[in-house]
Amino acid sequence: MSAEGARAELRSDGLPAVTPSDAQLLERTARGDKSAFGEFVERHRGAVFRFARWCTADAADAEDVLQQTFVSAWRAAGDVRAEHGARPWLLSIARRAAAKARQRHDERRSRESSIEELGEAAGFGDERFTPERIAQATEQRTCIEAALTRLAADEREILVLRDVEGLDGAATAELLGISLAAQKSRLHRARLRWAAELRTCLDQEAQHAR
């Protein structure tokens, strides 16, 4: 990811052009350099919007979160330490804004189930739920996305952080303020729950097609 510190690249005239790190861009932003901030926004806007969209599960809320995140980033640019990239910091701002947005809506709570129950719901022992069915679903996208919207907020959040934004377990645990063990368990349960919703959606589609 380009967010990880400065990288040297060759320019057309053969001289090295250095891609500034997040920390460098934020330092220039803090001094009022709008073009540095523009480059910073360009680098992270896709990830912030994706995260906001799936955390809020609402397009208008997602846009509010996107705007609030970068306005906060502009204001706090001088106070942040981003030696390892600013992405986790931005996502934690977005996460707080998304939590506020969600308070306005009815929120689904995650239910407690055993791993065995989750596994059966996710298709353990079901011979009709196959990688080929999933490949078809990937082309259509509908069930993949619909299944995510049926999860509780904390489940959607961890799936996006780990599986979409690619944060590692330690960074995710820190961002969520939970232990590494709790993070592992939440991720696994969220994946199983999502797979169960995917399976339900695909079954319903198959019934309509008949």
Binding site: R50, G119, A135, L198
Partner: protein
């Protein structure tokens, strides 16, 4: 669980419980080895392991393409253009 059995010293439920850590490469080699021995001998776990890993892959592929929404980004540009230090 349907068809639950014990193979290579592990029950299917124990394999199921560690599937994400297995996929992420987070397990110690001996635990990993026991899971692989179970899955080689258990068609339920072999099948579900394949489905689960395909599902996680599908989630990644589909959602990574979901950060684009031109109008939201255009309105962000308008807003940021008006910011003053």
């Amino acid at each position: 669980m349907r068809g639950e059995r014990e193979v290579a010293g592990l029950r299917c439920g124990q394999v199921l419980e560690q599937l994400s850590e297995y996929l992420e490469g987070e397990l110690a080699p001996e635990v990993r080895g026991r899971i692989e021995a179970h899955v080689r001998a258990c068609d339920h776990c072999a099948r579900f392991g394949g489905v689960f890993s395909a599902a996680v892959g599908a989630l990644r592929v589909v959602l990574r393409g979901s950060g684009e929404q031109a109008d939201a980004h255009a309105r962000l540009d308008d807003l940021l253009g008006r910011l003053e230090r």
